[in-house]
Subunit: 251 residues, 2 copies
DNA sequence: CGCGCGTTTGAACGGGCTCAAACCTTGTGG
DNA sequence: CCACAAGGTTTGAGCCCGTTCAAACGCGCG
């Protein structure tokens, strides 16, 4: 899956949550609710103590589906580790990739309406999810805190999706690819990893389906950005040489 | 605003909520919460009695902004009457129209994250909105019912927005326009109006910004659909002659 | 090893954009 | 009430960018 030749193991500069995910040492006072709170980066204090056993973990291997369209709604999921893709399929078979959820992203909020998930979510790497059960979500037990938090996180996801949407509007395809790379760089940085050197977890085809262009166009855009010296590309591995130039390329 | 020649007034077949909106006679037991419930078509019984005065109405004239990007979050809005457009503006000035909210649609749920609205909403016709104050939304007074309802409606809005998004992916621009018209037809029908004869509240430019094409392309697509006898167009007025053909045109 | 899939690059076509002009509607102010 | 301005709509002509079709190569997996 990785393109490792004579370089240090990627885990040193990018803990992608690939096949060698490390299990954190269980804490004596471990609270799943607290972890959800932290993962979502919810910015209000948490009052309740941990209610273990309510929040199941869910492991996925690369390629497995986390959610299937039409599947009955059974709760929301927070990404703990790994990268996934969210996609919807047209009536005519055309697919569109809505986004690439990573650590801290919320999945499944489109399933509340009609009690069934409306999009498909597939793991790109090995993944680890935490489930927020529907029963807990809408129960008053935790004094609404959980629902508030989920609502807040949903709003964030929508906001970012809308931004990504407007990203599609950019006239030139190279600008879209540049903006996509810049977004990925910022997301990796936000997770504490290197913003200038990372391995894309998704294929060129996925990127194309996300930006509404073909595989070839994505590949050509990468080559063009390499040509002008803004980035270096070696299959899935991206090195950003000039971040400002990358941002300026977006418009 | 309308193109009335020797035909019956459009109000007979399309109460668009234009400049002559009719005020419903106030009921002795009128409940704003009940009306929000009905407008959103929330499918669970309402237990609480009406708490008047909490839900302010908001009138807008055509062209006025309902929400401005960056404006502090002060609650959600339910459309009671009229049509609006939701749009986001790119860094490079390019605009994208996310959708056209009408009766029963929910506005402002992207403002919960960061306590500020992240998109702009502009009235296309005279509009009438009901405000769900932030304080009420997150208070336990109405036993969570309101927050549940808002969450549910948000999920619906997102779902439909995603569908509209994938709509953009359709290869041919004529297919996108055909699908757009079919969607409008269904929405008018859902509101009890004529699905085969209506007046578009938005400009060709707005449609273009929604479908990611230029004004000229929208106009040409309309002409092409007229040419094959699927629709009739007279400026803003649309008559659908062959609905099946319109749907088949989408793919 | 061989197959499938992902990636890259080339060549040619075509659909949507750009630029331009004409016509129509709507709103404003004299 | 009319004239004018501003903006919406339609149609045409030419060009460019992204798609389509094709081929070659590398990698990972069975």
């Amino acid at each position: 899956m990785l393109n490792v030749q004579a370089m240090p193991t990627p885990a040193q500069w990018q803990p992608t949550g690939g096949r060698h995910a490390i299990e954190p040492a269980p804490d004596a006072h471990y609270s799943p609710l607290q972890e959800i709170h932290d993962l979502l980066r919810y910015d209000s204090p948490l009052r309740t103590s941990g209610e273990t056993e309510l929040f199941q973990r869910r492991r996925l291997k690369a390629g497995q589906s986390a959610l299937v369209m039409g599947q009955p709604f059974d709760g929301l999921y927070v990404v703990r580790l790994g990268t996934l893709k969210t996609l919807i399929t047209n009536v005519d078979g055309g697919v569109h990739v809505l986004g690439f959820p990573m650590k801290g992203n919320l999945l499944g909020f489109d399933g509340i309406y009609q009690n069934a998930y409306m999009s498909e979510v597939v793991a790109l790497t090995d993944c680890d999810l935490i489930r927020i059960p529907a029963a807990e979500l809408f129960a008053d037990r935790i004094s609404n805190h959980l629902e508030h938090m989920a609502y807040w996180a949903s709003s964030r996801e929508i906001t970012q999706e809308q931004e990504a949407y407007s990203l599609t509007r950019s006239v030139k395809s190279e600008a879209r690819v540049a903006r996509f790379l810049h977004t990925m760089s910022r997301r990796f940085e936000a997770m504490g990893w290197s913003p200038s050197r990372f391995i894309l977890p998704m294929t060129r085809r996925d990127i194309g389906h996300h930006l509404s262009v073909t595989v070839e166009t994505v590949s050509r855009a990468f080559s063009a950005l390499v040509q002008v010296g803004i980035i270096e590309v070696e299959f899935r591995e991206i090195r950003i040489l000039d971040r400002d130039a990358l941002r300026n390329f977006e418009r």
